[in-house]
Every structure is written in C-alpha cells, then in structure tokens.
Amino acid sequence: MANIFPKWSNFVPIKIILGIGLVVTAVVAGITYYGTPKYMRVGYQPIQPVPFDHNIHVEQLGMDCRYCHTYVDRSEHSNVPSTNTCMNCHSQVLTDSQALAPVRESAESGEPIPWVRIHKTPDFVYFNHSVHVNRGISCVECHGQVNEMQTVYHAKSLSMSFCLDCHRHPEKSIRPVDEVYNLNWEASSPKEQEEMGKRFVHDWKINPPLSCSGCHR
C-alpha cells in the first residue's frame, strides 16, 4: 500500500491532545470564574420601585433592622415590611416627596409595593433567619454592609460553599448576641474574634449541621 499519510500527520495526535487540553482548561477556567455565584450573583442591584435608602434610615436616623424586618428574630423568613410600616413615619415626614408617591398610592389602594427580590435561597434549601440571628450571626455576614447601601445589592455569593465555610468554622463569624444588629461592630482584633468565637461556640453549644439533610430537608 502506498503511504497515504504525509509526514505532518505524525504530529496530528499530539496537536489534538494539546488542543483538547487547552480547550478543557479554558472551559473549566471560564466556568469557574463566570459560572459560579461569586460572579453570577454578587453585584446584582436591581432598580426598586421606590429608591429606599438604607444608609439614611440606619446610619443617619439610627433605626434598628427589626423596626421594618419585624420577624427576622422570630421566624425562618425575614419579612419585607408592608406599606403601613413606611407610613408610620411618612404620613408625617416628607409627605409631598415625589419619590414617595408610590408609597402613598400603595397605602391608599392597599396594593403592596412590588419590591424586586435580591437574595433568594433555592427551593431545595431550608434556611432559618431566627436561629442565625439569635445565635450571634449578624445580618452583615450574609447581606454585607446594608447599613451603608443607598441601593441594596447582592454583596456575598451565598453559594453552598459560602454557607459551608461558616458552618465548618462558626467561630470566625459569631459575635455577641446584642451586637447582631449593629452592622458596624467588629472584634478588636482577629485574635480576639477567634478566642471569643470559640468561647461562644462552646458555651452556646453551637453545632451547625454539615449533613445533607441539615439544609436539604
């Protein structure tokens, strides 16, 4: 049989293997960077029907998280307040503000304000707000510095490994229970956080579930 394969075909297998290697590396690197919650969720900042400014309410006026998110320490769900909560003050304050027109309309008609949801755990994940805030895990651990946000955005990845990092090492995130709603609180040093955290984990018998059924019930 005549030789039907030219000389360059000797290197075709090596080139194919190298090419496949490059493509696989590129795909894996691309998905790792662009396909995970760190990229896909963090920074999500939808325009809300009312430009509610957390910074003004919390930092300038000194309101507590629980004035509006009333059930966060009593329920698995942290509620978004009804318009009545807004009107407690805004029936007196800034009554003519153009920005607040949708709030007044909602209060009159009884139709809720269509807030755009930012943080959402998937249907197959069970998450309980009250167990976390009552055991020294502050809002800031998952939601970021909401007290400084003029418009709320998705600050943390909230991926499964994000949850597990803290469930595996709760001492790094735990704080005194009376500082949970103080989003600016910080331990005086990382060492202090470590020591205090370990003490709280021990004293409060913190044992975060690591089994599948802990969250996927």
Partner: protein, 476 residues
C-alpha cells in the same frame, strides 16, 4: 546398598534405551495443519467480505431492542426516578441487580486477557479479543444503571471528586464511591488493553484494504504500525505490563461491587464471604457469556479450526470450577447463618429459600449450582448445542443470584412492620431488556469492522508457526 544399585541402574545407558516414554496426545490449538496465510485470510475476510444478510437482520433487530432502553431512560429522565419500582423498604431493585449482572459478565474478558496471559494459557488467543470487546460493552451496559439512577444525569459528574463551587466532596467512606473508581479504572484499562492488542491486526487490515475510506479508517487506527522488530518488542512489553496491571483489577472490581452490600448491616449482605464469592460468580457468568457469544460466531464463520473442542472444554471446566465455588458459597452462607446464631441472619436465609421469593432462589440454585455440574461429562462438553443451553441457564441464574441478594434481604429485614414486596415497573423492564440490544449492536459493529481475533498470536500457536517443527510430537 539398595540406593547404590538404583543409581547405577539409572545411569545404565542400556536400560535407558529400553525406556519407551508415554506420549500424551495434546489436541492442537489450531487444527488441520493450516498455513499462516490461512489464519490471516480467515480473520480478515470476516471484516472484508460484503456484509452478510444475517448481520443486517441481527443488527436491525438489535437496534429495535436497544430502542427499549432509549425509551425507558428517556421516560425516566423526563419524569423522575420514581418511575422505577424502587420504594420503601426495597430501595435497591433491578437497577443494582442489572448493574452487578453486566459488570460480572465483563470479568471474563480481563481474566482471559490478563490472568490467562500471565499463566501462559495459549488457548486464550482464539477468544481473548472477543472477550475483551464483550467486557467493554458489558461495562457500558452496566454503567447505564448507576448513571441514570441519579435522576438528573447531567449532574453525574458529581460522582467524581472534582473541586466545585459547593465546597463538598463525594463521601469517600461509601463503597458506592469506591465503585466509581473501580469501574472507571477497569473500563479504562480494558479499553487500552483491547485497543493496544488490536493495533497489529488493524495494520494488517490497513495493508490489505482496497477502498480509500478503509485505508484511512484502519490507517488512523493502526497508528503507524510497521511490524518492525522494535515495534513488536515494545508491543510485547506493553502487553505484559497491561496484563500485570489488569490482573488485580479482575479481583478488585467485583470485590468492591460486593462491598456495596457487605459493608451494609442488612442481614444477608453483611458477610465476609462476599468478595471471593462475587469474584467467582463474576468469572462464572463471564465465561458463560463468552460461550454464548462465541459458539454462534464459530458456527456462522466456520471457525472450528481456531476455536476447537479444546477451547470449549477449557471454558466449560472454568464454568464448572467457578460454578462449584458459587454453590459452595451458597451453602456456606447457610452454614454461617446457623453457626453464627444470629436470629436475624438465620431468618433471612430460611426466608430466602422458603419465603416470598423462594421461586427466585430455586431458579438461582437450579441454574447456577445444578446445571454447570453437567460439565463433568465429556459427552456434554462435546455437544455444542447443549453447552450453549447450559450457558444460557448460567446467564439467567446469575441474574437471579443478584436479584435474590439485593431484594430478599431488603424486603424482610429487622422490622416486620415495614416488610414489603418488590415488583419492577414496565420502565425497569424496558430499560433492562433494551440493554441486550445495546450490547448486541456494539458487538455486531465490532464483528463487522474490527479484527475478531489476534492474527499474530494465533499464528504463533499454529503447528506451522512453531520454530522447531517436530513431526513426532506436538509442541503445544
């Protein structure tokens, strides 16, 4: 004194000349004194002749059968795993039964190609290629069941320990995870072995090819093989290395499959006899399947001179040997259940033989323990049709063995309040039935397009290929 006399008698050349050594007739491995060229022609024409009509008939039938698996799996993926008959308390049903059944069949291939190679059993050459192909296709059929039982097949890669955004690893303490490594290693090594062994024959087909597409097809697959001495030297070395590498796999894969059961605490599963018992059963079922496939092929392609009665004898004896081991294991399970004085275990075994699944148990015993005992008789080993029938019985029996182990133990375990009875659904039946079609499609393609037997190795064991021909004795 007498010792001295014996020595001198042995040294006496006159006495030695009188000795007439007995010549044991050993049947030739390739009969009828064929030339070396005949071997090449015999193997290559299977691929080169125009496609026979029986092949098309079988191929279309096999495709039609395989479509049952396709329908079953499509329905499963689009609906959910609930369409299989798995429900409390029997959460392991046909899926694991079929998985173990097919994986077991695959074991003959590696045994023939690795262990028999290291033991220099020359009769293996006629059947090793087909047995390796059977192994690979059987493992593919087996893989379908664990792959699809995860439900969302596109997440099946989670079985592998890859770093991921969820921050979790598979459970390394689970034998099911060991299965992933065992089976994937086994599949990879089997593929390598199979393909590497084929390279010289693919080169032969390439060199004989007339049509351009065949030249390119076999040319690419032959990877530039030129049959030089250096090539052969490397080939032999690689072959021995792969044989050494796959030898532990023959034992490890089914050992680990048996751990799926043995590591659990369910009575009837939690026994130390499982690994050797499963390995013997796997080789048993594998050889039965090799004969089931090779006997029809031998008749169709008239390969009687290459696959001789001696080959069939050898395989029948292996089936007899491993079948007896399996029978011994069945008996030993009962003995230990009594001797161990564990009431749950005794109940399980009595329940196996006389409970709601007694019908399955006695089918298993009849097919696996009684039917291979017929191979003690030479007249039965020489009756090809009967050998085929007995092998069919063994195939059926080994499927029932896995059914009995998986289902009876789960159906009646510790809590009588949660006892149940398992029945497969139509989706289970479709999926399993179709795997025989899937297997046949692959095997028919193999027969039609790839060399069925290793040409060079068969040449080496023909009388014509013997380097020191002696008309008086057969060198094999």
């Amino acid at each position: 004194m007498s010792a001295h006399t014996d020595e001198s008698a042995l040294a006496d050349p006159a006495l030695l000349a009188k000795v007439d050594p007995v010549t044991l007739p050993k049947p030739a491995l390739v009969e009828n004194e064929h030339t070396l060229h005949w071997v090449t022609e015999r193997v290559c024409t299977i691929v080169e002749d125009s496609t026979p009509r029986w092949w098309w008939v079988c191929f279309i039938l096999a495709c039609a059968m395989a479509s049952f698996t396709f329908v079953g799996l499509t329905y499963l993926v689009s609906t959910g795993v609930g369409t299989w008959g798995l429900a409390n308390p029997i959460n392991w049903g046909w899926a694991i039964v079929n998985f173990v059944f097919w994986i077991g069949i695959g074991h003959a291939g590696t045994l023939i190609s690795a262990i028999l190679c290291l033991l220099k059993q020359k009769w293996r050459t006629a059947i090793n290629r087909a047995a390796e192909a059977m192994t690979i296709f059987a493992v593919m059929c087996a893989g379908l069941f664990p792959l699809f039982h995860v439900g969302r097949v596109w997440y099946a890669w989670w079985l592998f320990p890859l770093p991921n955004a969820n921050g979790i690893w598979p459970n390394f303490r689970s034998p099911l995870e060991w299965d992933v490594f065992a089976v994937s290693t086994y599949f990879t090594v089997s593929c390598l072995f199979w393909y590497m062994g084929m390279i010289p024959d693919l080169a032969c087909l390439r060199d004989r090819a007339k049509k351009t597409w065949r030249k390119y097809f076999y040319g690419v697959l032959a990877m530039g093989w030129r049959s030089s001495s250096r090539h052969w030297n490397n080939y032999e070395m690689a072959y021995i290395l792969l044989a050494g590498l796959s030898t532990p796999l023959v034992l490890s894969v089914h050992t680990i499959v048996s751990f799926d059961f043995a590591v659990a605490l369910v009575p009837g599963w939690h026994t130390t006899i499982f690994p050797p018992y499963f390995v013997a059963g796997a080789i048993f079922s594998g050889f039965a399947m090799v004969l089931t496939i090779m006997l029809p092929l031998r008749a169709i392609y008239r390969l009687h001179d290459i696959i001789t009665q001696r080959h069939i004898d050898c395989m029948c004896k292996i089936i007899l040997g491993t079948g007896s081991m399996v029978g011994y294991a069945y008996a030993m399970e009962f003995f230990i259940a009594w001797y161990g004085a564990n009431p749950y275990e005794s109940f399980t075994f009595v329940n196996r033989a006389f409970g709601q699944y007694a019908w399955a148990y006695w089918i298993m015993v009849t097919c696996n323990v009684i039917s291979p005992q017929l191979f003690w008789f030479k007249c039965i080993r020489e009756n090809t049709a009967l050998v085929l029938v007995i092998c069919m019985f063994v195939n059926v029996g080994m499927w029932f063995e896995r059914f009995v182990i998986a289902v009876t133990s789960l159906a009646n375990d510790f809590l009588p309040s949660s006892w149940g009875y398992y029945s497969p659904t139509i989706v289970d039946i479709f999926t399993f039935f179709g795997t025989f079609g899937f297997f046949s499609v692959l095997f028919l393609l193999f027969v039609r397009f790839l060399p069925l037997m290793p040409i060079a190795e068969i040449k080496a064991i023909t009388p014509a290929g013997t380097p020191h021909p002696n008309p008086d004795t057969n060198h094999l």
